[in-house]
């Protein structure tokens, strides 16, 4: 067993433990922190898979800013999860078991990791890898695919982020009671 496999198993085992802890825990502050650790571990898994850009994004967005936003939301709501009042756990258990079994069954069709015959490596990837140095001329092919070959997608993603910001502004607004010169003042 190579070192990569050992690290893989360790990381995935940690992730499984943390996922179980998230389900069991009632303290939402702890849950937010565990989510952050979960994201950091998956960033580690992506690094092992040589997907440095994805790992970078996962660490910055998943472990960093979304944890802060979750904690900020927690200050607005309750700190403890309400106890579960559902009487019959059988039906949810059956649904989850069937879904899980189907997902596991589905993975048997997925090509092995790094398989050169996998459809994703047969389609446009070879063209990007061969022509990116001469067509775009920058060393990081991820950037050349993201910003140039797939420029429309990235424009769409940027618009999605902008739209999400607009939606939050519309729902929550910027109203803030600010104390200045001893008097409370409503600013918009």
């Amino acid at each position: 067993m190579s070192l990569d496999h050992a690290i893989d198993i360790l990381l995935l085992a940690f992730m499984a433990v943390i996922a179980l802890a998230v389900v069991r825990l009632r303290d939402l502050f702890g849950v937010a922190m565990l989510f952050s650790v979960f994201s950091l571990l998956s960033a580690g898994v992506f690094t092992i898979m040589d997907a440095a850009d994805v790992a970078f994004t996962e660490a910055a967005v998943g472990a960093g800013i979304s944890t802060i936003l979750m904690l900020a939301t927690l200050t607005r709501t309750a700190r403890e999860e309400k106890p579960n009042v559902s009487r019959n756990p059988a039906l949810p258990l059956i649904v989850v078991s069937i879904t899980g079994a189907m997902l596991v069954f589905g993975t048997s069709d997925i090509p092995r990791f790094g398989d050169p015959q996998a459809p994703v490596h047969q389609h446009v990837a070879p063209r990007y890898i061969e022509d990116s140095p001469s067509e775009i001329g920058i060393p990081n092919m991820v950037t050349s695919v993201l910003a140039s070959y797939r420029g429309y997608d990235t424009l769409g993603e940027t618009t999605v982020i902008f739209t999400a910001g607009v939606a939050v502004m519309a729902l929550l607004g910027m109203r803030r009671t600010r104390r200045r010169n001893g008097q409370r003042k409503d600013t918009d």
Binding site: F56, T57, V61, G64, L69, T75, I138, N140, V142, T158
Partner: protein
């Protein structure tokens, strides 16, 4: 917030480094992992660290929500504007080959500009989200 001396000193040391690292990730994304999305998030988290330690009021005075709203829209506009520019120069939408004298120079310039647009939008939107979530009294 006035008595956490260690936190304040460490934050004062860290915030400039985080912002500088964000700029590095932004402008070095063509050569190393990173790009507009990551840089924007890192930039925003540097400011958020400042807001956590020194209070939201000071942060909002330095970076008012109104300015951030304009910035978050102008990032998308910059991205879409590069596309319009390539249209006017005779190419297809977002075909950066037309931006400069040679195609690779055009690609470099185009990627630089659209990544900058992505970074501006992501950073300002993340900060706006943080303002919206924390800038309210309990129970509002």
């Amino acid at each position: 917030m006035l008595h956490h001396t260690v936190l304040r000193v460490i934050a004062k040391l860290l915030v400039p480094v985080i912002l500088l690292f964000a700029l590095y990730v932004q402008f070095h994304g063509e050569y190393s992992p990173g790009g507009g999305f990551q840089a924007g998030v890192i930039f925003a988290s540097g400011i958020i660290l400042y807001a956590l330690v020194f209070g939201l009021d000071d942060t909002m005075r330095a970076l008012p929500p109104g300015v951030l709203k304009i910035l978050s829209a102008s990032g998308v506009l910059l991205y879409a504007g590069v596309g319009l520019d390539t249209l006017l120069l005779g190419g297809n939408y977002l075909d950066y080959d037309w931006l400069a004298d040679s195609p690779t120079h055009g690609q470099h310039l185009g990627i630089f500009l659209v990544e900058l647009g992505v970074g501006i939008t992501v950073a300002s939107t993340m900060l706006l989200l943080y303002y919206a979530f924390t800038g309210r009294e309990q129970g509002q």
